[in-house]
């Protein structure tokens, strides 16, 4: 099927097999291997991208359903050579080791900081919750990190989100 995607601000017309996930399209056809495949079942978060600003698991999104959507991958977070503040904070706080979950963590954090609203650990439902460490941990728990960089991930996100 012929579709046109908007990826990191660039129009990408492609002919896709309707079975192909957005993740496989990005990685295998468009050369955007920053988004990672950790489980292909929506269980690890390594493939998280932003679709129209919302964080989405690209392994669970069919490519053919993304016609017209604005897709941002980890490759699109920086402005030229200037890193996104979260990317810089992840480096500064050593918020990764092997780096394989990192693109998903970053896209997820960008989306999370824009979300607002209460989470499962928010006690006061009225008003905007404060971005405590507990809130960050809760909201970032869809992104697994086997190296165990969680404390540094929380520190990096808290610094940017403050």
């Amino acid at each position: 099927m012929e579709i046109t995607l908007q990826v990191n601000g660039v129009r990408r017309p492609v002919d896709v097999d309707p079975r192909v996930s957005l993740l496989d399209l990005l990685r295998e056809r468009l050369g955007l291997t920053g988004s990672k495949k950790g489980c292909d079942h929506g269980q690890c978060g390594a493939c998280t991208v932003l679709i129209d600003g919302r964080r989405v698991l690209a392994c669970l999104a069919l490519a053919v359903a993304q016609e017209g959507a604005e897709i941002t991958t980890v490759e699109g977070l920086a402005s030229g050579e200037r890193l996104h503040p979260l990317q810089a904070a992840f480096i500064e706080h050593d918020a990764f080791q092997c780096g394989y979950c990192t693109p998903g963590q970053l896209c997820s954090a960008v989306g999370m900081l824009a979300e607002g609203g209460p989470s499962a650990v928010t006690e006061e439902l009225a008003g905007e919750p404060e971005l405590t460490a507990e809130e960050i941990r809760e909201r970032m728990s869809g992104n697994l990190c086997r190296c165990g960089a969680y404390p540094n991930i929380v520190t990096a996100i808290a610094e940017v989100g403050a």
Binding site: R19, G38, E75, C98, P103, S141, C145, R146, C147, P151
Partner: protein, 672 residues
């Protein structure tokens, strides 16, 4: 200094094995055995071959040519016998991943099943004494008269601990991209913790001279042991590429990883301790039952830490192995010490309770002057300092030992302590160093699987050369570089760093280039007991109604030689402790007794710690000055963080609830 590849990792530019852009690449998808034991009667590939995009089907119907001495897990499609459910028995190569996956489902494999045995039991009649345990430790040790020591003891503990199968589950699934050139040379982009060993084993499996094989692994998305030696994906990619006449990519799925990339053996561990009323150990015995496959003997060194830890006039350790219809277990972070120290350090807590001695004091009281089993002097041993420092920082002094009496709202609160240890060894390695374009380039076939070795070696080279680290570039992860051992056994920095230091010293003498081979230096190491030590403290809260356990805080204090880079070290220690929390509370692969393999094989059912599971985890250390190790004075830090963590948590759960859980993981059901 930040990680040298940090910018690449946060921008998505770091290239992992499956991600190299290659023209005309085809995809290979495995077909896995549906029985745990038996014979393949026939493989019917006709339907699969007729499907769109399919290029080839591999199976035992046409066994591909392999080397005569291929490691049995790598000897694909050579035999009709099935050794375990999930073993790779066929594979489809196709133009696209989706075509390959669809066609793999259409391959018809007919089996002649036989009765299987996949259950480790302490009384299994197949248990035997292997010749050695991984990698080269004696299977059994015995010193003094354990029976007499136990018989004469004022207090005895006789308990059995069990740990389940655990899977490494690095975030990057095992993947290989294979390319043959016109001369029959093979290049593999492979997810590997050691490209030199990988190259040698893959060449052996394929029956090729090693000069014809190159393995490249510049970035690795974690391994924790599971990428230490090649897995079937490496050989499968090579065979598929040969069959298709095109480059081929094999990217295992998370589900397939549970079957074919190794796991930590389940263990059944009996510990007997005899002590006097003050808790001084007279006799200590640690017996282990564990498993391997029918294909390969892998015997985890589970009881070896017990040979190192405490002064016991009578000390016996023993390993027994049974060969089951399972995949071959392998190395998972801190093999041996990790499950073994769960048992020993839980038993020490039980002894502390039995004699009414504080668990920190009990360990101090039993600290040995020389290595208990061998009698060798320690190069350095600062376990007591770790325990004392940890107790001070953690606020241990006012601890009431009574279990099950501290309640905060619905939570029962408790604290626990455990020791940790891991051997500090090094292996021969080579490295080169050269002046190039006004800077320095260090070359070594080492691996950076997330440990930060690229950064640590940059610092080690810069220190030796007395230059700014910004002038040094380290090239690693390519088997064409000077030979290096795997990232494993907490030996990476020690082994590679020795070679890098010596190569840089050679460069300083030469002015232009330097080379080192450390074989002689490493073989000349004096016989000494070299180990890192640590003490782990945990505070848990247990929901009195649901049995949910939360780790409120953890502190690890380590004595692991000189620390090359504080940031990297903290990340390694803390990461190991977090994996240990997973081991304590949630990780287990459930054996499917009826069909073989595992009933859980994805990340929705095999639970790893997530961000919300981790509250406060802190690591501190002593900078030890130990001149008996290597030029850097390092002991290795990749594994000791996980050792002791599960026991510290289990001991804290006992303190919180009065329930002693001897069977990991500590799930809510075991506390209700």
């Amino acid at each position: 200094m930040n990680r040298v590849e940090g910018h690449d990792k946060v921008t998505g530019r770091a290239t992992y094995a499956a991600e190299y852009p290659v023209e005309g690449v085809a995809y290979c998808y495995p077909v896995q055995a549906e029985i745990a034991r038996g014979r393949i009667a026939g493989v019917d590939a006709s339907a699969a071959l007729a499907m769109p995009g399919v290029l080839a089907v591999l199976s035992c119907e046409e066994p591909p040519e392999l080397g005569a001495d291929a490691e049995p897990e790598l000897a694909l499609f050579q035999r009709r016998e099935v050794a375990y459910r999930g073993q790779i028995v066929a594979a489809v190569v196709a133009d696209s991943y989706d075509d390959a996956r669809a066609a793999a489902r259409a391959v018809r494999v007919a089996y002649e099943p036989e009765a299987h045995d996949v259950m480790l039991r302490a009384d299994h009649r197949g248990l035997y004494k292997p010749d050695k345990v991984n990698p080269d430790f004696p299977t059994d040790t015995e010193k003094g008269d354990v029976a007499a020591g136990l018989a004469g003891a004022q207090v005895t503990i006789d308990v059995t601990y069990t740990t389940p199968t655990m899977h490494n589950n690095p975030m990057e699934p095992h993947a290989t991209l294979a390319l043959w050139n016109g001369d029959g040379d093979l290049t593999l982009y492979d997810s590997s913790q050691g490209v030199s060993l990988g190259r040698d084993m893959i060449a052996q499996a394929l029956g090729l001279p090693r000069e014809r094989v190159r393995v490249v692994s510049r970035h690795v998305g974690g391994g924790f042991g599971s990428k230490g030696s090649p897995r079937p994906n490496s050989v499968l990619a090579a065979l598929a590429a040969r069959a298709a006449g095109r480059p081929v990519k094999v990217a295992l799925t998370r589900q397939q990883m549970f079957d074919v990339t190794g796991y930590r053996t389940p263990t059944i561990q009996r510990i007997r301790v005899g002590a006097d009323a003050a808790g001084r150990i007279a006799a200590l015995e640690h017996e282990v039952a564990e498993q391997s496959s029918t294909l390969v003997e892998f015997a985890e060194q589970t009881a070896t830490a017990t040979r190192v830890m405490y002064a016991a006039p009578a000390l016996r350790t023993a390993h027994r192995l049974v060969r089951l219809d399972t995949a071959t277990p392998s190395i998972m972070r801190a093999p041996g010490g990790c499950p073994g120290m769960f048992a020993l350090e839980s038993a020490m807590d039980e002894l502390a309770v039995a004699v009414g001695v504080d668990p920190v004091e009990l360990r101090v009281r039993n600290d040995p002057d020389t290595e208990p089993d061998s009698g060798l002097p320690f190069s350095s041993r600062n376990l007591v300092a770790c325990l004392r420092e940890g107790a001070e920082r953690f606020g241990w002094r006012d601890r009431d030992p009574a279990p099950g009496v501290r309640r905060r709202g619905r939570w029962l609160v408790g604290t626990g302590v455990a020791s940790s240890t891991y051997p500090a060894r090094r292996r021969p390695s080579q490295a080169s160093a050269a002046v190039e374009n006004g800077g320095f380039v260090v070359r070594i076939a080492a691996a950076d699987i997330g440990t930060g070795s690229r950064t640590a070696l940059t610092r080690i080279a810069a220190d030796t050369l007395h230059v700014d680290p910004g002038l040094v570039r380290v090239e690693l992860g390519d088997s064409d570089l000077p030979y290096a051992p795997v990232a494993g056994g907490s030996m990476g920095t020690a082994s590679w760093g020795t070679a890098v230091t010596m190569a840089c010293q050679d460069l300083l003498r030469d002015g232009k280039q330097g080379f080192a081979d450390t074989t002689e230096a490493v073989n000349a190491d004096a016989e000494l007991a070299r180990h890192a030590f640590g003490a782990q403290f945990a505070e848990v809260r247990v929901d009195a109604d649901t049995g949910e356990v939360r780790v409120s805080r953890m502190l690890g204090v380590f004595a692991a030689g000189r620390i090359v880079d504080a940031t990297l070290a903290r990340s390694q220690f803390v990461g190991g402790m977090i994996m240990g929390i997973g081991m304590a509370l949630m990780e287990q692969s459930v054996v499917d007794l009826e069909f073989g393999g595992f009933t859980n094989h994805d990340l929705a059912q095999y639970h790893l710690p997530v961000n919300a599971d981790i509250e406060h985890v802190e690591a501190v250390w002593f900078d030890e000055a130990d001149g008996e190790l290597n030029p850097m004075g390092t002991k290795g830090i990749g594994e000791i963080g996980i050792v002791g963590t599960a026991a510290a948590v289990a001991n804290a759960v006992y303190h919180a609830t009065g329930r002693r859980v001897r069977d990991l993981p500590i799930t809510p059901a075991k506390l209700l």
